[in-house]
């Protein structure tokens, strides 16, 4: 329902509000601390719990992942694609492990579901690229943090 309120003369010409608004702008401009930083020379420190680019944790050079498929199961964006295989010293391992970062919403559910402490979300947040490549296993195996 539209209610029409009676407004006073000064309110209707706006001049007082404009002066008040400008006063706030000028006060911030001259007297408050700057909130912007000189990125990329300067960087902000993020919390340890920040959820950025994924990696798979490795122990002695072997990925912790056993291709249990819990992360693709839980992933709400359905962007993890794993193909499992067998090799002599590891009963089950991921032959192919891909994360389609363009679809990922960085919810961190994969990290939470993982029983093997394998998939992790690092603090890296610079992910702009020139191509639409997915994050392949060799790229994922790069250790990007200490979680």
């Amino acid at each position: 329902m539209l209610l029409s309120k009676k407004k006073g003369f000064f309110t209707r010409i706006y001049i007082v509000e404009i002066i008040q608004g400008l006063a706030i702008t000028l006060k911030n401009f001259f007297f408050s601390r700057k909130v912007t930083i000189q990125y990329p020379e300067e960087r902000r420190a993020y919390s340890d719990r920040f959820r950025g680019l994924h990696y798979i944790k490795a122990t002695n050079g072997v990925e912790n992942c056993t291709a249990c498929m819990l992360c693709p199961t839980v992933c709400p964006a359905e962007c993890i694609h794993i193909e499992a295989g067998e090799q002599a010293d590891k009963e089950k391992y991921p032959v192919r492990f891909e994360i389609d970062l363009l679809r990922c919403c960085f919810c961190g559910m994969c990290e939470e579901a993982c029983p093997k402490d394998a998939i992790k979300l690092s603090a890296i947040y610079e992910m702009a690229t020139h191509s639409r490549e997915v994050l392949r296993k060799d790229m994922l195996l790069e250790q990007r943090g200490n979680k």
Partner: protein
């Protein structure tokens, strides 16, 4: 009828029925490991214990027949404590490697451990481990996961009738293995994986390809022989990953043979013909049928014993349309292959075609033979006679005298009715999408007869 009371609910039963079965019927689930309704009862896992009033000790539900007026409690504190202890005992040596194990998601041990077990293990000794022998091409063994329920041993003895599974040693050192460590020989080895309540015996063919919880399940009928076992096609993204048997007391009880279990691979092969082909080139449907219509003089129609009734109906309409003769082909005998399930006639609808009163092809002469089949029946010996195939064919079957192929559907992709050796009509159900440009036989026939511009 005698009655007993389970958890305060009255249940009728017939004399001799055990408590687990009666409880299941009225919706009370009692966890079991060693009990399988298709095998003899040994009562050795102790998971199914229940409290029966007026009996001092807990009773095993799988081996205790109910009596009139019996009062049974399946979730009293005493029963729950017993289950928790049994679970802990069974898991003492279990590796708990569900992330790797292929049974995960459909594993009784996992489910009951979650439901009745404890989250923590008190066991600090080194766990018992085994070196695993090769069990042949069907089954992969991992004895560390075994809980010694002996279902596999009983299956070998009682169903496969080939006592090839044995328990060696005893006590803590018990190991389930094949006699003399030989590979499995039975034609029914896939069932070991179905009945094993843990991941000790898994299918090599299915292992690691797909997690059980991703699979879409379609109940249908096996088209491998004239028995027509009830099966479940398990698919994901229109690809069949596994076939398991469904319970059907009248036909296959709980089992199926390996041939039936693995024959779906052939229909997913690259070399299956999925594009209409005529006189050496791949064509659109419209053109292929156009060329075929011009050739239809002195034609003879042959329908295979693996077609559904619906498909035979469609082809007989077409034969009538041309005034041509309609004959059946494929083996015309049927008998028990072994005393278990398999039949010698390897086509799903042999008895259906017999019932329809079709006569069999016996070398009758024709200028052109139209062969209609679903991929299971062997092609007839036609010599030099030119032929056109409608249905499922593979690259290697294109003989020099083959003039054209109209690709049709296999049992994975179609609905229809077939008659098994007992005379029962059973329904095939489509589980995956139609591959390539394939079309069902009735669709092809309709376009053939009436034209139409459907590409």
């Amino acid at each position: 009828m005698p009655k007993c009371i389970i958890d305060g609910r009255e249940a009728e039963f017939s004399v001799g029925e055990n408590i687990v079965d009666i409880a299941k019927r009225i919706g009370v689930s009692i966890p079991v490991f060693c009990y399988h309704p298709g095998l003899s009862v040994v009562a050795q896992c102790r998971m199914c214990t229940v409290e029966v009033e007026k009996m001092g000790k807990l009773q095993t539900g799988c081996s205790t027949p109910a009596t009139d007026g019996m009062v049974i409690h399946t979730n009293s504190q005493k029963v729950l404590d017993a289950r928790q202890s049994t679970m802990e005992f069974l898991l003492v040596n279990h590796p708990l490697d569900c992330p790797i194990c292929d049974k995960s998601g459909e594993c009784d041990l996992q489910d009951y451990s979650f439901e009745h077990g404890s989250q923590y293990s008190r066991y600090t000794e080194e766990r018992r481990t085994y070196v695993d022998l090769d069990m042949g091409p069907v089954i992969q063994k991992n004895m560390n996961r075994c809980i010694h329920c002996t279902r596999c041993i009983r299956f070998a003895d009682e169903i496969a009738k080939l006592p090839e599974m044995v328990a060696m040693q005893r006590g803590n050192a018990t190991e389930i293995t094949t006699a003399d460590g030989r590979p499995l020989e039975t034609d029914y080895a896939g069932n070991y994986s179905d009945i094993c309540p843990t991941g000790s015996l898994t299918l090599k063919d299915f292992r690691f390809h797909k997690r059980a919880w991703f699979l879409k399940k379609t109940p249908t009928i096996c088209a491998g022989c004239s028995r027509g076992c009830s099966i479940e096609l398990q698919t994901h993204d229109d690809h069949v990953y596994r076939i398991i048997p469904r319970e059907n007391q009248a036909v296959n009880q709980y089992w199926m043979c390996d041939e039936g279990r693995f024959m779906y691979h052939a229909y997913q092969e690259e070399s299956r013909l999925c594009v209409p082909w005529f006189d050496g080139q791949e064509l659109a449907w419209q053109e292929a049928l156009q060329q075929l219509r011009a050739k239809m003089t002195g034609a003879l129609f042959l329908v295979a014993t693996d077609l559904t009734h619906e498909e035979v109906d469609a082809v007989s309409q077409l034969a009538q349309f041309y005034g041509a003769q309609l004959l059946a082909f494929g083996s015309d005998t049927d008998a028990d292959y072994d005393a278990i399930l398999r039949r010698t006639n390897m086509a799903a609808n042999f008895h259906g075609l017999k019932r329809r009163g079709l006569s069999w092809y016996a070398g009758q002469k024709a200028e052109l033979v139209i062969i209609v089949r679903a991929g299971r029946t062997k092609l007839p010996q036609l010599g030099e006679t030119p032929w056109v195939g409608m249905g499922v064919f593979w690259e290697k079957e294109k003989t020099p005298s083959c003039q054209g192929i109209l690709p049709g559907l296999s049992y994975l992709e179609k609905n229809g009715t077939v008659t098994n050796f007992q005379g029962t009509d059973q329904a095939l159900k489509q589980a995956v999408a139609v591959p390539g440009m394939c079309r069902s036989v009735p669709e092809i026939v309709m376009q053939w007869m009436h034209g139409g511009e459907r590409g």
